[in-house]
Structure formats: C-alpha cells, structure tokens
Amino acid sequence: MAVSGSGRMSPNFTNVGTLTAPGSTQFTANSKLVVQTDGMTKIDKLAIPTGGASISGSGTRLEITNPGGVIPVVGQRFLVLSGAVTGQFAFVIGATLGNITLVPTYSALGLELVAT
C-alpha cells in the first residue's frame, strides 16, 4: 500500500481501532497517518505484520487526535504502528495533550508514542 500526495490513512474513522495492512506500506511526501486516542489506554494502530513500513519524503505527518480530552499519565506508551519501520514522520501534529507530550519512539516494535 502506498499513501502519497495529500493522501491520509486512519486506522479507524469512528472509534479507536486497528487496521491491518496486507503488505508493505509506504508513506511518501506530504502523506499522513491519522490516529485517535482515548487518552487512557487505547490508540488507533496500523498493523503491518509483513513487509513493514517505510516513511520518506518531506512533509510526512503523524496526526494525533484526542476527542475525549483525557490526558495520559507520564510513562504511558501507545503503539501506533506495529512492524518494521524505516524512516520517520517529518511532523507530529497534536502531540501535546495538556501538560503531557506524546513523543514518537521508533524501535523494533514499530512506532510508539511515549507520554512524557
């Protein structure tokens, strides 16, 4: 799957949920991954069991929405992308929730947001 241009991917449009990509997924210039969190324990997740994700090009964005306004506690971790990841999103939008910042952390697990 390839998301490019002004294309957006939301693991779930209405609730917090998981979208499983059947193969490798590419985010290229100006594309967006939009995730929603309940602020407590859950966040949208893009699961890529095979092929992993590559993020490249300028203007790529990870956008976080928190419609309930619940603020996570420090140290909480939210896995938003599972699978191997190469590259990073150029911008993270909506990462500040009250006095908490969700910091993207790339690891072998994928991409996590850590409340700090």
């Binding site: 799957m1 390839a2 998301v3 490019s4 241009g5 002004s6 294309g7 957006r8 991917m9 939301s10 693991p11 779930n12 449009f13 209405t14 609730n15 949920g17 998981t18 979208l19 499983t20 059947p22 193969g23 594309s31 939009v34």
Partner: protein
C-alpha cells in the same frame, strides 16, 4: 344519497336494470356489495358518484362497474374487485376525477381494465394491483403513490406521454409475470421512494424507469431493461441508490464499469448483464459515487474518487488508486492489491467498526 351504518347491504341485479345514478355523496360505513350474480351482460352499475367516502367495504363483483366521476376517498375501508372468469368488473376514474386511497386499501384484480384518466389516483394507504390491467391513459394521468403500492400481478399500461406512476412511498414489485408498461409513459421512483423486489420470482419491469430514490432487490431476480440511470452506452451508473441483496439484471449490453450512484452489493447479491453473466466489473467509482461491497469479490484495476467501502469479505483488486474521496475497510473485511499497489494519492483510507 344512500346511507348504511353497522350492517351489510348486497345489491344484486337479476334483470336488465341499471342502478340509479348517484350525483351526490355516497358514504359507506359498513359493507356493500354490487353484484351481477346471474345475468351475464347485464351489469350492475354504480355510476357518476361525485364523492365516495368509504369507511366500510365496497365489493364490486362480476360485471359491476363503479364509476367515480368526482373526488372520492377510501378513508379506512376497502374497495375490492373480485375475480371470476366472467368478471368484467372495474373501477373507473375518468378525466377530471380523482380518487385517494387514504389509510384504506384498494385491491384491483379484475381481468378488465382499471381506467385512470387525466387526473390522478393518489395512494396514501395501500393499493394492491393483484391482477388485470391498469391503464393510465389519455391526457397523461398519474398514479401517485405516497403509501404502499403492491404490484403482484397484472400490467400497468402507460399509454400517453406524461402518463406515469410517481412513487414517493413503497412500490413492491413481485410475482412471476413481467410487469409491462407500453406507450410513452414512465415510472418515476422519486427521492423518497423505494422500489423493492422481495419475492423469489423473476420479475421484469418493462416500464421506462427513472430511479431518483432507492431500488432494492431482496430475493429472486429483478430485470430492469430500461432505466434512465443505467447507461449501457458508457457502462455507467449515473445516479440512484441500488441495494442488491439478490439478483439485479441490467439493461441489454450493459456492465457496470463506472459508477456515480450508490451501490450496495450484499453478501448474496449479484448484478448481472441481461444475459445472466456477471455485470459488476467496476473500474471507476466517480464522485459522488458510493460502492459498498459486502462479499468476497475480485475486481481489476480500480480508481476511486468517491466512497468505496469494503464492508465484509475480501475485496481483491489488481491495483487500486484513490485520487479523491474515501476508502473504508470495515472490521473483518480486507482490501488487497493482488498484482499492483493500493495507492492513496489523495483523500483518505481507513477502518470502520
């Protein structure tokens, strides 16, 4: 004026005597039957009733004629034309007259025509077309349905330009007989209207149909050979809502390649060419088109500019490009690019449920 409350009346004609012309109002609160039980060719006639207000049951038996020349109302009762092989019974609403089926019910199952003249038959209750022929004839009459019109047998002849069935309610078309409309008239399924096929029969609607509302195929086979929104020249659905849970057959020489309407292809739904082979070969879903697929299905190269929803099952495409609009993948469903990528160039892709 004849009035009856709480009892039944049978008017039986055994001689060549016509019932009197009623120029005033006839209110029927109980039951009344006009019949010609014994004399073929000597019809019992109730003629020229200016205003029929029916709260009971009016049965029109063999050879009888109910001629409504004014504005009449079935407001809770029933007009039933009974069938036998000698029956020539009919209800006539001539030019200038109108008849409204309020919350009542009228059943037409005579072998003789039901004449509808230059004015309308308005249905706010239930009208059952259970046999015989209905002719919407000279001057462009209209059968206006705002209630429920059950068309299970017989034909409607729309013989003049402007003659039409205008459906704003529920139009149930069922039965094994082809539904015919010849002439210049048409059926308009308006935005609030639903045209449904729910029996296991194969039904052909030969009328020219304009679907501005919803067509629903729940069982059996519904043949639609002539529909404004189904364009066989460009293999394009130009509008309307189409919910296909059973079999919907397209006009001759048409497959669906482009869509600008709203199509739901249910779990057991099948959209077919007129020959019966698969007729859903979507390539472009144009804005504001919506396609929801609730079954496992393979398509070729697909471009989406509207809303495409993989609602259940597995939707496999050779390649998929979204240049606008939305792709929705419901919980439990999958969208797979078999031999090419799924590309979201613009718009959004995401999960639902």
């Amino acid at each position: 004026m004849c009035s009856s409350a709480g009892s039944s009346i049978v008017v039986r004609q055994n001689a060549n005597v016509r019932l009197p012309m009623l120029s005033g109002s006839l209110r029927i609160n109980a039951g009344i039957t006009f019949t010609d039980a014994n004399n073929i060719g000597d019809p019992a006639v109730v003629g020229a009733i200016n205003n029929l207000m029916l709260q009971g049951t009016l049965a029109i038996d063999a050879m009888a004629v109910l001629d409504l020349s004014g504005s009449s109302l079935v407001e809770g009762g029933t007009i039933a034309q009974t069938y036998d092989f000698l029956s020539q019974a009919y209800v006539r609403v001539p030019g200038g007259a109108s008849m409204t089926v309020g919350s009542g019910r009228m059943t037409l199952r005579t072998t003789a025509p039901f004449f509808l003249g230059t004015r309308l038959l308005q249905v706010d209750g239930t009208l059952n077309l259970a046999g015989g022929n209905v002719t919407v004839a000279p001057g462009g009459g209209q059968l206006l349905n705002r209630g429920t019109l059950n068309w299970t047998s017989g034909n409607v002849f729309l013989t003049a330009a402007g003659a039409e069935i205008a459906n704003f309610g529920t139009l149930n078309i069922d039965g094994t007989t082809a539904r015919t409309s010849n002439g210049l008239g048409r059926i308009v399924n308006n935005s609030t209207g639903s045209l449904t096929h729910g029996s296991t029969a194969t039904t052909t609607l030969n009328a020219a149909l304009s679907n501005l509302g919803t067509v629903m195929s729940f069982a059996g086979v519904l043949n639609l050979p002539l529909v404004n929104q189904l364009d066989p020249v460009n293999d394009r659905v130009t509008g309307g809502v189409w919910i296909v849970e059973a079999t919907l057959r397209l006009p001759a020489n048409m497959t669906i390649v482009r869509n600008a309407g709203s199509i739901t292809l249910g779990q057991l739904g099948s959209i077919q060419q007129s020959s019966g082979v698969d007729g859903f070969l979507l390539q472009t879903n144009e804005a504001p088109g919506t396609v929801a697929i609730q079954q496992t299905r393979s398509l070729g190269v697909v471009v989406n500019q509207g809303v495409l929803r993989a609602a259940s099952g597995s939707l496999t495409v050779s390649a998929y490009t979204q240049t606008a609009g939305t792709t929705e993948v419901m919980k439990g469903a999958t969208l797979v690019g078999a031999s090419g990528p799924v590309q979201i160039v613009a718009g959004e892709i995401g999960g639902l449920g």
